[in-house]
Symmetry: none
Subunit: 208 residues, 4 copies
Amino acid sequence: MTSTGERVHAAALELFAERGFHGTGIRQLAEHAGLSSATLYHYMGTKEDLLVTLMRTSLERLVRAGEEIAGSTDDAPTRLADLVGMHVTSHAQRPLETRVVDDEVHALSPSRRQEVVALRDRYEALWQQVIDDGVGSGHFAVTSASIARRALLEMCSGVARWYDPAGRMGLGELAEEYSALALRLLGVVGDPATTPARRVAPDTPGPV
Amino acid sequence: MTSTGERVHAAALELFAERGFHGTGIRQLAEHAGLSSATLYHYMGTKEDLLVTLMRTSLERLVRAGEEIAGSTDDAPTRLADLVGMHVTSHAQRPLETRVVDDEVHALSPSRRQEVVALRDRYEALWQQVIDDGVGSGHFAVTSASIARRALLEMCSGVARWYDPAGRMGLGELAEEYSALALRLLGVVGDPATTPARRVAPDTPGPV
Amino acid sequence: MTSTGERVHAAALELFAERGFHGTGIRQLAEHAGLSSATLYHYMGTKEDLLVTLMRTSLERLVRAGEEIAGSTDDAPTRLADLVGMHVTSHAQRPLETRVVDDEVHALSPSRRQEVVALRDRYEALWQQVIDDGVGSGHFAVTSASIARRALLEMCSGVARWYDPAGRMGLGELAEEYSALALRLLGVVGDPATTPARRVAPDTPGPV
Amino acid sequence: MTSTGERVHAAALELFAERGFHGTGIRQLAEHAGLSSATLYHYMGTKEDLLVTLMRTSLERLVRAGEEIAGSTDDAPTRLADLVGMHVTSHAQRPLETRVVDDEVHALSPSRRQEVVALRDRYEALWQQVIDDGVGSGHFAVTSASIARRALLEMCSGVARWYDPAGRMGLGELAEEYSALALRLLGVVGDPATTPARRVAPDTPGPV
DNA sequence: AATGAATGAGACTTCATTCAT
DNA sequence: GATGAATGAAGTCTCATTCAT
C-alpha cells in the first residue's frame, strides 16, 4: 500500500531525526527502507536532495496551514492561539519531520540552505505579524515582539521532543495548554473571552 | 596565554556548534586548532571523549550555578527569575557550548549519553522544583508543571541561537525580559517585588 | 530514416571518441541516443560488444578499401599514394570511427583485442607490402621499411585529430598533400607521374 | 632508494599508459604501488591531480629540452633534426610518460586541460617555428607548414608505441633514421651536409 | 611535544547489467 | 520494442585512529 518512495522518505525521517543527517549512512538508510543502497538512488537524488525534499514537504505544509490561519481572522489573540494550536499539534503528530526541519538546517550546503530558510522565514513572518498586530491593537504587552516570537516558537517546537501520542494527554488538551501559556506570556490576562472559549464570541472587545 | 589544550577545546566548540559532531572531521578540528591531526591526540582521547568533556564542562557549570540559586531563597518567583536570568545569560555568553550541549546529545553512544543526560536531568530538576514550589505556594498557576518546565527551558535556551553580544540589547536587559516572560507564562501577574515595574500596569485587575 | 540501431552506433561513436570507452557510461550512451539504458540492451550485447562492433565495421571498411588498392596496380609509388590518399580521406571523413579504433584498443579484453588487432595487422600488412615492393623496385629509399610503415601510418592517422571538413582545405587537396609528404619521406623525388608537379623543381639532381 | 612518492608516480605511469586513466582504478593503483588505497592519498591529491602532475613533469622536460635546441642555432635543418632526435629519443626512453601525455588529455577536466594544453602548445610552437624558418630560408619545401608540423609530431611520437630498448636498434640510430625521414618529408634532398654528418660542419651553407 | 606515514573501515555515488512487465 | 526497478560490484575519496620517530 505504501509505495517504495514513501518507504524511503519514512526511513529517512526516522533516521535523520534519531541520529542526524551526518550521523546517518546511506547503507543504514537503505537497510531501514528494505532496499539495497544502489536501489535507493532510484528514489532520490543525493542524500542532501532527500533531506531537502523532506524539509520542504514539512515546511510547505506548515506554511500552508499557517497562512490559512493568518487569513482567517483579524483578531490577534485568536490568530495567535490558533497558530500555537496548529504548530503544537503538528509537532506532536509529526515529531520526526519537525525535528529534522529544526535540527538539520546546518547540514545543508549554502544554496540549499537558502531555499529552506526562505520557507522557514515565511512561516515565522506569520507569527511576527500576529504579535505585531496584537501589540498594535493593545492585546499583547511585550517589550520586544521579536524576542517574544522567538521564545514562543522555541517553546512550541519543543513539543516534538517529548510528546507521546500514547500518553494521557490528548492533542486538544495540549493545544489548549500551549495556547494559554502563549497568551499569558504575551501579557494577555485570563479572560473567558480570550481563553479557549473566546472563539465563541468573536465580537468581544480586547481586554487590558 | 591560552594553552594548546584550551585551543583544542575552543576549536572543537566552534566546529561542533557550527557543523555538528558528525559533520566535523578530525582533520578540520586539527587545522582549526593549528595542529596536525596526530598531535590532536595528545590533548584528547577519542573524538567522542572530546565531545563529552565539552558537554560535561558546560553542564557542570550550569548545574553549579543552578544549585547556588536553588539554595539562595525559598521564594519561588525570585528563584525562578534568577534561574531564568542565569540560564539566559550563560546561553547568551556561551552560545557555542550551549548549542553543542543541546544539539549533540544524539551523537553520544548509550553509555556516554547516560552520563551526560544524568547531569542535564539534575539541572532540569532544579527548574522542576521551583515550579512545583511556586505552584504549591500559589504563586504560579499552570495546568502542568512539567509542560511549563519544558516550555520554559526550550524558550530560554533558544537565546543561544540568536543573541548578538554586539547588538543593542545588553545582557541585563535580556535577563529581565526573559524573566518577565517566564513569570507571566507561569501566571504571575505584575508584582513590583518580582517583576520590573515598568512593564506592568499596577492597577490591572489581575486574575487567578 | 536512421534506425534506432544506427542512432545507438552514432551516439557511441561520438562519446567513445570524445571521452573514451571507460570514460563513457551506459547511461550517458542511452541519453545521447534518446533511449533508456535498459532499452539500449535491445540493440547491443555488452558495452564491449558495442565497441568491438564499431571497431570491426571501421576496420573492415579500411581493409576492403586497402585491398582493392593493393590489387589495382604493381607500381609501388602509385599504390602507396593511393593508400595514403584513401587512408587520409577516410580519417578526415570519419574522424570519430578512426579515433575510436586508434585509441581504444587498450580497453578491449585479451580475446576481443586479438580479433581487432588481427584486422588491423591485415591492414598494416598492405602498407608493409607496398613499401617492401617499392624498396625492392628501387623507387623507395629507406633504412628500415617497418619504421617507415609506422611513421607513415601514425602521420596519416593524425588527420582525424585536426581536419575540419568546414575549413578551407578540400579532401582532394588533403590527400594530395599527404601523398606528396609520404613519397618524399620514402625518398621518392618529384616525378610528374606520381607527385603533383607544382611542388617539385624538376631539375633537382635527385638522390636515390 | 626510491621514495614512496616516486613509486606512486611510477605505478601511475605504468597503469595509465597501459589501461588509460579511466581504465585504472584507485585500488589497482594502490596495489601496484604497494600501498593501501588510503595511504595513496598521502602522496597525491585527487587521481586527476596525479595525472596532471605526471603530464606536467613530462611536458616541462620536453619544453625545456626543446627550448634549449631552439636557442642553439639559426640553421633550420639542423634545428629540426635536433628536435626530431630529441623528441624521438625521449619518446623511446620514456614511452609511458609520453603515451600518457599524448593519449589522456581528454580525461582532464576543462580547467586542467587548459593548463596542460598550454604547455603542449608551447612545445609545438617550437616545431612550428623551425618549419616556418626553414620554409622562409628556402631549406624546406612544403605546401602547408602546419600540416607538416602535425605530420612530423604524430610520426615521431609513434615511437613510444613500439620502440624496444632491448631490441637491436640503438637510440642514436633511431634518432638518425627519424631525422632523415623528417628532412626528406620537408623536401630537403639528401646532401652530406644536411644528413647526419652535417653537424660536423656547422658552417655549411644551406642546400637546395 | 609533535608529526608524517599508515590503514581498515566506511563514506557517498555510479557502474554495467538483468528482468518482469 | 521499451522501460522502471533492482542490484552486486566497484568507483573515488575521507574517516578516526595508531605508531614509530
